[in-house]
Symmetry: none
Subunit: 415 residues, 2 copies
């Protein structure tokens, strides 16, 4: 099976609404080993929808269409599908009855508006898929070994129909499920990672290796072969070893956990509390750490010591250090980390001071210069970074780098 997806709706095409349905559907299909070959977004016009469907059916054996099934005149998906597939629409009396029942059960004391009835129009020969979350049913049309699913665009309804109808249909077609191994890295650039792993594709000929970069790091995703579970586990283990042997220090987790959650788990295991003294990141590290529910078990608190006065008064940085070395310096970063750990009694302290820009840079300390320091029972660490990018980029990278410094310190990983 190979699939295409068509998203319908003027609100999506205008950029007013971000299309999250597509990513959801594609991810669900991928868990069943069904690759999506292409995705089209079209507006609420009969000709555009019909053309998109024909184009997709020429390439793919499964097409999923979402959106445009509502009761208002701009919902024309039914009409377009009927036209493209040459299956005239007819009123389905069972569907009409269930729409009426739904109207009443939702407390519609007035009679149901007539336009709701168009939702009971069904292309000839289509299977009607029950929608437990809304009025418009989904539709499935099969012919010549190809299948077209049509589901509403309301995310809750689309998800419900995916789980109730599309995935069971796919499961009925499949032999071996597709599995992935994901190794998440940070602190290493995509180009360097790819270079260090240059031989890996040859060593793992039955896998496909992909790099998924984001501002927080690069995920290495290995698509494992479609074989039985035992053999998949062997291949996964070999892949894990080959990759870990080359870039293991940069891998912070296998799977989907975030870096802040990994750091939180390390702190919990050791029964450590952490405290932060942030300057250029302005509270972003604290905000990130407290994203995790239950973070009060390992997060003591932090200060955002933006001004020099705050660095002295809130984190106990000596006035002389600030005068002698400047706020953005190794001694001040170290003093912030030590000061906040001492003041709060936390086992782990982190200090961050830097120039996020756009102003404030000098020749010696250009924009993007950030000093990060950490103290823990395991030891101390400091590093000077020079991050590229905008103010937001420098701040985001500083957050990742400081969390990664704590991870490495607790695990005893040298740079």
């Amino acid at each position: 099976v190979n699939a295409e997806i068509i998203t319908i709706g003027n609100e999506i095409l205008s950029g007013r609404t971000v299309d999250t349905n597509f990513a959801y559907l594609a991810a669900q299909l991928e868990t069943r080993g069904v690759p999506v070959g292409q995705h089209q977004t079209v507006g609420d016009q009969v000709e555009d929808i019909a053309r998109a469907l024909k184009t997709a059916l020429a390439r793919a054996s499964l097409v999923i269409v979402t959106g445009g099934l509502g009761p208002t005149p701009d919902d024309v998906t039914r009409k377009a599908i009927a036209q493209a597939l040459g299956r005239p629409l007819a009123l389905d009396h069972d569907v009409l009855e269930s729409i009426r029942e739904r109207w009443v059960s939702l407390g519609g004391s007035e009679p149901m508006p007539g336009n709701n009835e168009v939702q009971a129009l069904v292309p000839r020969g289509a299977r009607v898929l029950r929608n437990t979350q809304g009025t418009a049913p989904g539709l499935l049309m099969e012919e010549d070994g190809k299948a077209v699913f049509v589901v509403p665009g309301v995310p809750g309804e689309m998800r419900s129909l995916t789980g109730d109808s599309i995935l069971p249909w796919l499961d009925a077609q499949a032999r071996h499920p597709v599995r992935y191994l994901t190794l998440r890295t940070c602190g290493i650039r995509e180009a360097v990672l790819a270079q260090r792993l240059a031989e890996v594709p040859e060593l793992l000929p039955d896998c496909q290796v992909a790099y998924l970069p984001s501002i927080g790091g690069v995920d290495i995703r290995i698509r494992l072969p479609e074989v039985d579970a035992e053999r998949v586990a062997e291949v996964a283990e070999r892949a894990r070893q080959e990759i870990t042997g080359r870039v293991g220090n940069y891998i912070f987790t296998e799977g989907t956990d975030s870096l802040e959650r990994v750091v939180g788990d390390l702190l919990l295991e050791r029964e450590y509390m952490i405290a932060l003294a942030e300057s250029c990141t302005g509270g972003m590290v604290a905000a990130r750490i407290t994203t995790t529910p239950g973070s009060s078990l390992f997060f003591e608190g932090g200060v955002v010591s933006y001004s020099n006065r705050a660095k002295e008064e809130m984190a106990g940085v000596a006035h002389e250090l600030l005068v002698e070395h400047g706020a953005v310096s190794e001694p001040v970063a170290r003093a912030l980390a030590e000061g906040i750990a001492e003041r709060t009694g936390a086992a782990v302290g982190v200090g961050i001071t830097g120039i996020a820009g756009p102003g404030g840079g000098t020749e010696e300390k250009p924009v993007g210069t950030v000093h990060i320091a950490a103290v823990a029972p395991e030891g101390k660490a400091h590093r000077r970074y020079r991050f590229p990018g905008s103010r937001d980029g420098v701040r985001e990278r500083s957050v990742t780098a400081s969390l990664d410094m704590v991870r490495r310190l607790l695990l005893g990983i040298d740079d």
Copy 2:
């Protein structure tokens, strides 16, 4: 001009990454009155990209392609574009030089990996568009009255190239540009806003009123008629008056400024410093305020007093208050605001304490209960909120509410 957009990338097609670039681009094009006719997403295959581009060019006069410009072998967009447009690739020595400089300036002590050089390949006759946020430049190819822009898929780079190159190019094509009046609100729900402004569309027949909700508030966007500048200014002034007369207290700005920037400007005008004591928001208010460059001029610092001990020690909350009323209470919120202002010497202090969830709620103080307090030379304020939504949602809404409380306090707006 009518446009199509092509998103490229296996990570998008697989559903691993939600494509936010498309909505951003479509919304930007809409501000220039350029409708997007269709959107295609294709994977990193030369033939698929080439075919998608040809299909789009057959329908639209402007095609924007994003993604697949990175240095790794799976980035094949350059090759595909060159093939589709019949413009062979050649190494651009200026681009190569700037890529090398960038590598060095980012602290690449190792020699640049050779694969970075592919980013200097440029289709014949293409205009190279400078990318201030990354390595791969954007490209513009014009022929037969049609234009193709190619920009990286990294959101920061795509946005930067949109602002620096695509929008100026569109502006250069326009006659009467489409103008919008945007009034940004917070603290009022979309349905309530729409109800209070129910008559406005009739009063402004030559305008189109749209509501753009986000988690931070609702923007009221008025599309003004395509007429000469003087007449547009008159219509805009009438629209401004009609809307401000009805919901003025909720409008924090006209235009695009963020709430944190508006609050920053109010503080700057008054020469006030602000200090924060955050609990459930975990540093998010500080992070938001320091998003604004130059925030050191009005932001003194803050504490993230997550534990009760931190509330006492960092913000000076009396132990008895915590015991008697609990951490999530009006007296503690007020004590946080007053304590942090006093300790830091800042004119304005804000205290936030609440239950973000998912755990920790009780019958009396359910998840979503947040107490926010502020002190300023203008007076004091406190409010108890009950926010809906997930942990992230409660935290985000708390950030907006606390910034808005400061705005109202400084401007003397009563609830």
